[in-house]
C-alpha cells in the first residue's frame, strides 16, 4: 500500500448519507425558490419603481396608471409572483419591465460572454494556483516564498476595482499601450475572437483566485510534507519527485477542492465588478442596471443564475470529494 492507511481511516470515519445527491438537489431547488421570494420581496420594499424610471420627470397620474396597467403592476403582489413563477416552469422568463424586450434576449448572449470570462478564469486559476502553491511550499521560507506570501496578501486585500484600474493604467492607458482598456466587441461576436480584449478582465479575476488558492495549496502541501507517511516514504528510499507528485500532491489537494469551488463561485459573482470596469458585455452590468431600474424580471433571472452557479459548483466539489472517498476505498 502506498496510500497512507491513516489518511483512509480518517476519511472512513466520516458519515456518508445514502441518497445524498437527491436530498442535495431538492435542497437546491427549495433554496432557489426561497431566494426568488426574497428578491421579489426586497425589490418591492425598495422605494420607487420601474414606472418612475420609465416616465422620469414627465409622469402624470394618468400616464403612471396607463404604464402600470400595461406592465401588469396593478395586479396583487401574489398574482405577480405566481405568474412569474409559473412562467419560469413553462420556460418563459418574461419581459424586461423597463424596455419590454424578452429577458432571454437581453440576458442570452451576455450570459454566454460571462460564462466564457469566468470559464477561462477558472481554467487558468486551478493549475496556476497548484503550480505556484507547490513551488512556494518547496521553496518554503526562501525569498521567493516570502515574496509570494507578501504579494498575495496585497492582491487579496486590494478591491477588484482598484486592481483592475491599476492593470489598465499599467498596460493600456498610462505606462504601456499594449492592451485594450475596455472590452468593446460586437454583440454577435464570440469574446475569444478578441483575445487581447479578454486579457485584462481575465487577469484581474484570475489573480484573486490564484493568490488565495495558492496560499491554501502551499499550507496544505507543507502539512502533507511534514506528515508521517512522507517520513515513511523517505525512509523507504523513494525519490523526492515521486513523493511530491504521487503521495503528497493528491493528499494536499483534497482539502483545497471545496475552497476551489467557492473561488469558482466567487469568480462568477466577481465578474459583476470586472465587467463594469472593463465595459465587458456580460450579465454583471445588466444586473447592476436592472437593480437601478427596479427591473424585477431581469433581477430575478440573473440572481437565479448566480445562485444556481454557486449551488452547482458546490455540488461538483462534493461530488469530487465523495468520489475521492470511494476511490480511496
Amino acid at each position: 500500500m502506498t496510500v497512507s492507511t491513516e489518511a483512509i481511516a480518517i476519511r472512513r470515519r466520516r458519515r456518508i448519507r445514502v441518497p445524498w445527491w437527491l436530498s442535495r438537489l431538492l435542497q437546491g431547488v427549495l433554496i432557489l425558490i426561497l431566494i426568488s421570494i426574497l428578491v421579489f420581496a426586497v425589490t418591492q420594499a425598495l422605494p420607487g419603481d420601474v414606472v418612475n424610471m420609465i416616465l422620469g420627470k414627465n409622469a402624470t397620474p394618468e400616464r403612471v396608471a396607463l404604464v402600470r396597467e400595461e406592465l401588469g403592476l396593478d395586479r396583487s403582489l401574489w398574482e405577480q409572483y405566481w405568474s412569474w413563477l409559473t412562467g419560469i416552469f413553462r420556460g418563459d422568463l418574461g419581459n424586461s419591465l423597463a424596455t419590454g424586450r424578452p429577458v432571454s434576449e437581453v440576458v442570452g448572449f451576455r450570459l454566454r460572454n460571462t460564462l466564457v470570462l469566468s470559464g477561462l478564469t477558472i481554467l487558468l486559476t486551478l493549475p496556476l494556483a497548484v503550480l505556484i502553491g507547490v513551488l512556494a511550499a518547496v521553496k518554503r521560507d526562501r525569498a521567493a516564498d516570502k515574496g509570494f506570501l507578501g504579494f498575495s496578501m496585497v492582491v487579496n486585500a486590494t478591491p477588484e476595482f482598484v486592481l483592475g484600474t491599476l492593470l489598465v493604467a499599467l498596460f493600456s492607458t498610462t505606462v504601456l499601450h499594449w492592451l485594450p482598456a475596455v472590452s468593446l466587441f460586437p454583440p454577435d461576436a464570440f469574446p475569444t475572437w478578441y483575445p487581447l480584449a479578454m486579457v485584462l478582465p481575465v487577469t484581474t479575476l484570475t489573480m484573486y483566485g490564484v493568490m488565495y488558492l495558492a496560499r491554501l495549496v502551499r499550507a496544505s502541501f507543507i502539512d502533507a510534507m511534514e506528515s508521517e507517511y512522507v517520513e515513511n516514504a523517505r525512509l523507504k528510499g523513494l525519490t523526492e519527485r515521486r513523493i511530491i507528485f504521487v503521495h503528497v500532491l493528491p493528499n494536499a489537494l483534497a482539502p483545497v477542492i471545496p475552497a476551489a469551488s467557492i473561488v469558482a463561485a466567487i469568480t462568477i459573482g466577481g465578474t459583476v465588478v470586472v465587467e463594469y470596469l472593463f465595459a465587458y458585455p456580460g450579465i454583471g452590468t445588466v444586473l447592476l442596471e436592472a437593480i437601478g431600474n427596479r427591473d424585477l424580471p431581469i433581477i430575478q433571472v440573473l440572481v437565479m443564475i448566480i445562485a444556481s452557479a454557486y449551488f452547482i459548483l458546490n455540488f461538483v466539489a462534493d461530488l469530487f470529494q465523495k468520489d475521492d472517498w470511494s476511490a480511496g476505498r
Binding site: P47, S96, V106, T173, L184, W193, R294, D323
Partner: protein
C-alpha cells in the same frame, strides 16, 4: 489500488479541459469582425444601458445618448442651433395666419432613406402617429395642436391648426422629428442610416449619401454604450473610441494636457442644474426665504469646485437656451449677513431643511454639499438626503427642496413647465405677471418682441422665482485630436453634430 482510477479520471478531465479550451479558442471569427472594412469611422462612447433607444419619440425625455443616436437618423422641421437659436431645418418656410392659430409650412426638397421624397402627407402621418394615445409618448407640448384638422395641401405644403394662438411655432416644432412611416417602419431623412443597434452595447450607422444638407466627412459612425464613465475615459485614452460623450469634469480636464487629445469647450450651456424650492410650501412660500437661499450660495465657489472653473456665476433665471441678447440683470453675490436678516424678518432664524438629490447631472452633488456648508454660516441647517434615481423620481414634484435639471429652449419652458397651471411646474411658482407674459409670448412671432418678453420673465425669476441657479456651465467634450471640425454648442450636443466633421485615419 487507486492509480488506474485516478489515471482514468485525469485523462477524462484533460479531455474535458481540452474540449472547453478548443471551443473557446477554436471558433474562428468571420472575416470582418466589426472593423468597418476600411471605411473612415468615428467611434463615440457614451453612458448607456438596457434602456438605450433608437427611436424618434419617447415615453420620457430622451437621454443625451438617445439624442446622439436619433439625431443622426430623424430630423425635425425646425432645429435648435449651436448658438441657442431655432432655425428652419426640413421646413423651407413657416407662415402664420393673422392670429397665429394656423401655420402653413413648406417643406424643403428632401430625400428619405428609402429613396423617396419627404411629403406633406408624411408630416401629417407623423403627428398622427405621435399623438396616438396608444403609443403613450411624452406629448405634453402638443396640447395646442388640433391633429385631426391638419392638412396636406400638396406634396410640399402642410397646414397646422392650433386650438389657441401660438406665435413662436418654430420653437414648438423643434425637437419633433418628422419621418416617412412605411409598414410601421419609421424612415428618417438624416445624415446617417442605422445599420445595427443593440441596447446597452452599440449602435452602428452608415453615411446617407443622398443627404440634403451638409454631409459628415466620414463614412461610418459607431456609438458605444458604457455603464461607467471611468471606462469611457480609459477607452478614449487607449484609442478605442475617438470622442467621449460624457465625462466628469476632472477627467475632461486631465485630457487637456495629454498629447493626442483635445477638449472642446462649449460655454453658456443651456443645461441648467438648479435647486428647486416648492413655493407653495413653508418655508419657501415666503419670498424672503427664497431670496435668502439665493444669497447663501457662493456661486464662484460652485464654479471652481463643482465645475473645475469651467462655469460662470449666473443669476437664478433661464439662460443659454435662446439667442436673445443677455438680459441686463445685476450679478447676485453671496451675502450671508443679508440672508440672515431676511430669515430673521421671515421669522425663521435657525431654519432646518432637507435637500433631496440624486445623480442627476455633473456638479449636482458638489453643489449640494457646498450649499449646505454656506448655509451653516447663515445658521441654516441643511440635511443632505442623497438617494438613487428611482427613489428620487418616486416623489418627484413632492420634495420641498430638491435638485432639478433641464435643457429646453427658453420659449418652450416659458410657455409650458414654468407656467403656474402646468402639471410639470416643479416649484409651483405662480407669479401673475410671469403668467401674463407667457400668454403674450404666445401671441407674437417677432423675435425681438419675444426677447423683450423673455427679458422681463428672467428678471421676475431672478427676483422672486422658485429655483437657485448658481452657475452657467461650460460643457467639455474630450476627443482624439484626429477628429476635426467639432464646433461648440450650448445644447450639450456638440459631440454629435457631425456636419463637416472628419477624422484622420
Amino acid at each position: 489500488m487507486s492509480t488506474p482510477h485516478r489515471f482514468r479520471r485525469t485523462v477524462v478531465s484533460l479531455i474535458g479541459v481540452a474540449a472547453i479550451v478548443g471551443t473557446l479558442l477554436g471558433c474562428a471569427p468571420p472575416s470582418d469582425t466589426g472593423g468597418g472594412s476600411g471605411a473612415s469611422t468615428i467611434r463615440l462612447g457614451h453612458i448607456g444601458g438596457q434602456g438605450d433607444k433608437l427611436d424618434p419619440y419617447f415615453t420620457s425625455s430622451p437621454t443625451a445618448a438617445d439624442e446622439a443616436r436619433f439625431r443622426q437618423v430623424w430630423e425635425p422641421l425646425t432645429w435648435k442651433q449651436p448658438d441657442g437659436s431655432i432655425q428652419n431645418w426640413l421646413a423651407e418656410s413657416l407662415e402664420p395666419n393673422e392670429d397665429y392659430t394656423e401655420w402653413t409650412v413648406t417643406l424643403k426638397d428632401v430625400t428619405a432613406h428609402n429613396g423617396e421624397k419627404l411629403t406633406a402627407q408624411d408630416v401629417v402621418d407623423t403627428f398622427q402617429y405621435v399623438l396616438d394615445p396608444a403609443n403613450n409618448f411624452n406629448t405634453s407640448q402638443f396640447t395646442i395642436l388640433d391633429v385631426d384638422a391638419m392638412e396636406a395641401l400638396d406634396d410640399k405644403t402642410v397646414v397646422f391648426k392650433l386650438t389657441e394662438p401660438f406665435g413662436p411655432f418654430n420653437v414648438f416644432l423643434e425637437g419633433h422629428p418628422v419621418m416617412k412611416i412605411v409598414d410601421g417602419e419609421l424612415i428618417g431623412t438624416g445624415p446617417f442610416v442605422p445599420v445595427s443597434f443593440t441596447p446597452g452595447q452599440s449602435a452602428i450607422f452608415e453615411r446617407f449619401d443622398d443627404y440634403w444638407g451638409e454631409k459628415p466627412g466620414f463614412e461610418r459612425l459607431e456609438i458605444a454604450s458604457f455603464s461607467d464613465q471611468t471606462a469611457i475615459a480609459n477607452a478614449l485614452r487607449a484609442g478605442q473610441i475617438d470622442i467621449a460623450g460624457s465625462l466628469p469634469y476632472t477627467d475632461s480636464v486631465s485630457f487637456m494636457d495629454t498629447p493626442g487629445f483635445e477638449v472642446l469647450e462649449s460655454p453658456n450651456s443651456a443645461k441648467q442644474v438648479v435647486m428647486d424650492m416648492r413655493t407653495d410650501l413653508a418655508p419657501f412660500d415666503d419670498p424672503r426665504v427664497r431670496l435668502a437661499f439665493k444669497l447663501i450660495i457662493d456661486r464662484e465657489e460652485v464654479a471652481q469646485v463643482a465645475y473645475q472653473g469651467f462655469a460662470e456665476p449666473s443669476g437664478d433665471f433661464m439662460h443659454g437656451s435662446d439667442s436673445c441678447p443677455a438680459p441686463n440683470i445685476p450679478q447676485r453675490e453671496q451675502d450671508i449677513a443679508q440672508a440672515m436678516s431676511l430669515l430673521e424678518e421671515a421669522g425663521v432664524p435657525g431654519l432646518e431643511v432637507t435637500y433631496a438629490y440624486t445623480v442627476a447631472a455633473p456638479g449636482g452633488e458638489e453643489m449640494a454639499e457646498l450649499f449646505a456648508q454656506s448655509a451653516a454660516e447663515a445658521g441654516v441647517k441643511v440635511n443632505l438626503d442623497f438617494m438613487d434615481e428611482p427613489t428620487f423620481l418616486s416623489q418627484w414634484g413632492q420634495w420641498p427642496f430638491a435638485i432639478n435639471y433641464w435643457q429646453y429652449p427658453a420659449v418652450n419652458s416659458a410657455t409650458t413647465s414654468m407656467r403656474a397651471d402646468h402639471p410639470f411646474n416643479s416649484t409651483r411658482w405662480a407669479n401673475v405677471e410671469f403668467n401674463e407674459l407667457s400668454q403674450q409670448l404666445q401671441r407674437t412671432s417677432d423675435f425681438d418682441a419675444q426677447c423683450a418678453i423673455l427679458d422681463r420673465m428672467k428678471e421676475l425669476q431672478h427676483d422672486d422665482g422658485g429655483f437657485i441657479d448658481p452657475v452657467s456651465v461650460t460643457t467639455l467634450n474630450a476627443h482624439s485630436d484626429k477628429v476635426q471640425g467639432l464646433k461648440p454648442s450650448v445644447w450639450d450636443d456638440a459631440f454629435f453634430r457631425f456636419a463637416g466633421v472628419s477624422i484622420e485615419q
